[in-house]
């Protein structure tokens, strides 16, 4: 049996699909058709590739983290430097591509949700670049801990709308963005920031992020003349991880996705969907979900806003079943320790999200031979988190 994954309705095995109000269906079908068309359109691809190079700053470096490698005393650690992308995280890879697509589709307005603020900044940047109106939804809890990014979005000309219902974080911002889209669907494109939601988003966002892995594969072959032994990335919705992993899926390489362990699984305050969740249907698709017995979605906790989400991209659930990707988690404390370690050893302040991936490298690198290779996706830079880390450490700035 050689079934196409995902199928034409976006099912990755038992996961994915489209669970949305009927009002949105024509827009999703229109988006699917447009994406199909433009993903094969020479002029579109040329324009995107030129923006990737000159606007985003691709290819991003694959950096050998010599000091960290020496300190951990095991596998060689390479960092895929998505933190060097324009606006400071991988989110821009997707946002620019979708903004360009929306422009081609004749939409006049872009909306997006944001957690850490990185996707909001990336979307506001894309909107400024292609000349479209822009509104970003953000939970009030995230607005507090990512205030710097809120101001950046406003500087870029976007309207930032505070969402103060529910848990006041990313999931509530997505609800509100979906409500906006349901209301303004005729002229508005919703730039979903991760490999989640109704089809075609999980596929489209993956494709727009897979440039990370395509570059990394070439770069490591050039640097080491062989493929890596292990890939590590943090998993919020799952876009930077699938972006790195996708080009290596046929290579039989160990791949590890790191979720937010928050205060630990037993505490119930975390966002480790695979460790603590079950199959559910949420915000447009079927996947692993942190929910109670009655099917209500649980609140989540993570020190990093970008990982603080109750569900995970459907393709991740599928690839986990296929045993292609392993999933683990790092706690807040482990991530904070990795945040400081990378800053001091390499002179790179990582995003707290990316620090979760570093934390996993800290755990496994010492157990691996010295000639083995790990690539860690450094999904973003940590400037946005500096204030929050200071607050946690009780330092007044």
């Amino acid at each position: 049996m050689n079934k196409k994954v995902p199928d034409s309705k976006g099912h990755f095995g038992a996961y994915g699909g489209r669970f949305v109000p009927e009002t949105l269906m024509p827009a999703l079908l229109e988006l699917n058709a447009a994406y199909k068309k433009y993903s094969k359109d020479r002029a579109f691809l040329k324009e995107l590739s030129s923006l990737q190079k000159d606007f985003i700053g691709r290819p991003t470096a694959l950096y050998f983290a010599g000091n960290l490698t020496e300190k951990l005393g095991g596998a060689k650690i390479y960092l895929k430097r998505e933190d060097l992308c324009h606006t400071g995280a991988h989110k821009i890879n997707n946002a620019i591509a979708q903004a360009l697509l929306a422009k081609k589709m004749g939409k006049s307005r872009l909306i997006a949700e944001t957690g850490a603020g990185q996707h909001g900044v990336a979307t506001a940047t894309g909107a400024a670049l292609v000349g479209l109106e822009c509104e970003i939804y953000m939970g009030s809890e995230d607005i507090r801990r990512q205030s710097l990014n809120v101001f950046r979005m406003r500087l870029l000309g976007a309207k930032v709308t505070e969402v103060s219902i529910g848990s006041r974080t990313l999931k509530d911002a997505i609800n509100e963005a979906l409500r906006d889209w349901t209301t303004n669907v005729r002229n508005t494109h919703y730039i979903l920031g991760t490999v989640f939601g109704p089809h075609p988003y999980p596929v489209m966002v993956r494709d727009f992020q897979s440039v990370i892995g395509h570059e990394a594969r070439k770069q490591i072959l050039r640097a080491e003349k062989k493929l890596p032994d292990c890939l590590i990335a943090c998993v919020g919705g799952g876009s930077n991880s699938i972006g790195l992993f996708f080009a290596f899926l046929r290579d039989n390489i160990r791949m590890i996705g790191v979720e937010a362990g928050g205060h630990g699984i037993e505490s119930g305050e975390h966002a480790a969907r695979f460790a603590g969740g079950s199959l559910g249907i949420f915000q447009g698709c079927k996947s692993y979900l942190l929910q109670n017995d009655d099917g209500n979605v649980l609140g989540t906790h993570s020190v990093s806003a970008g990982l603080d989400y109750a569900s995970v991209g459907p393709e991740h659930s599928y690839l986990r079943d296929m045993k292609k990707i392993e999933y683990t988690y790092a706690t807040d404390d482990e991530a904070l320790a990795a945040f400081e370690l990378l800053s001091r050893k390499e002179g790179i302040i990582p995003a707290l999200e990316s620090a979760h991936a570093i934390a996993e490298a800290v755990k496994i690198a010492p157990t691996m031979p010295k000639d083995s290779i790990i690539i860690v996706n450094l999904s973003g830079r940590g400037d946005k988190d500096v204030q929050e880390v200071a607050r946690i450490k009780g330092i007044e700035l």
């Binding site: 109000p21 009002t23 529910g166 349901t182 209301t183 669907v185 009655d294 099917g295």
Partner: protein
């Protein structure tokens, strides 16, 4: 013929339109909801829609979102709503429809839910985030338990979508009168009217219109175009303010 279909048939015979009020189960408490059902029935409700609270009601505006939060705080769950319906059935035979998001049903188990809902005395189901394309299992379970499956259409719906939704809807078809979420402002005419006409033109099944209807005048205008009028947020708002819904619903009933 289901109780819902029978209701529409009888109304049609006497040249009347169905009045379908919506309330959130457990807002502000199950006791009050129980009393409200009696009030709505005596004010002339033909069918009653009971909302099931959910943590993430993405098709709802602020009025119903807050009602949902209040009901959740009361500890109301899908299972408790079924128990509640069972109790209501001891005193009332008004057709009851549950409006619930899909995840609570999925978590409950689709087959078990359909069976228990039917046993409790539920007549039909509306699931705003379930489209026919994803509903095969749900539809067969509902058919086996003789529950009506009411799917939604909207002003954005294309001919292709209309065909699909009409085919699998039983009881009636729920036409969402606005491109938007519950409680938004209604505007009759334009795409709302055009698409509604093509829905009506493509089926003999009853079509009820809801979302945004908040005055007797609006209800009157909508009832000229459809077989039923659904009023939700306007009633939920009155309940939140502790006001009497009976008179409001009677005025709507007279208008349609």
């Amino acid at each position: 013929m289901s109780r819902i279909e029978q209701t529409f048939k009888q109304l049609k015979k006497s040249g009347r339109k169905a009045l379908i009020p919506y309330i959130m189960t457990g807002d502000p408490s199950l006791d009050v909801t129980s009393k409200l059902i009696a009030d709505l029935e005596s004010a002339g409700a033909d069918i009653i829609e009971l909302g099931v609270p959910f943590s993430d009601p993405l098709a709802d505006g602020p009025t119903i979102q807050r009602a949902s939060e209040r009901a959740l705080q009361q500890g109301v769950t899908l299972r408790k709503v079924l128990d509640f319906v069972k109790k209501i059935r001891q005193t009332s035979q008004v057709p009851l429809i549950l409006m619930t998001y899909y995840n609570p049903v999925f978590k409950f188990g689709i087959e078990a839910f359909a069976k228990e809902a039917a046993d409790a005395g539920v007549d039909g189901l509306i699931i705003p985030d379930l489209i026919p394309d994803e509903a095969d299992d749900f539809i067969s379970a509902a058919r086996r338990s003789k529950l009506d499956t009411i799917f939604l259409l909207a002003p954005t719906s294309t001919q292709e979508r209309i065909k699909k939704v009409v085919k699998v809807s039983t009881g009636f078809i729920y036409y969402v009168s606005i491109t938007g979420i519950t409680g938004a402002r209604l505007s009759i005419g334009g795409p709302m009217k055009d698409t509604l006409e093509s829905v009506k033109g493509s089926t003999n099944k009853p079509v009820a219109v809801g979302f945004g209807i908040s005055t007797p005048e609006e209800a009157a205008a909508v009832s000229k175009l459809a077989d039923g009028v659904i009023v939700g947020s306007a009633i939920v708002r009155l309940i939140a303010e502790g006001k009497d819904v009976g008179e409001f619903v009677r005025n709507i009933k007279e208008a349609i």
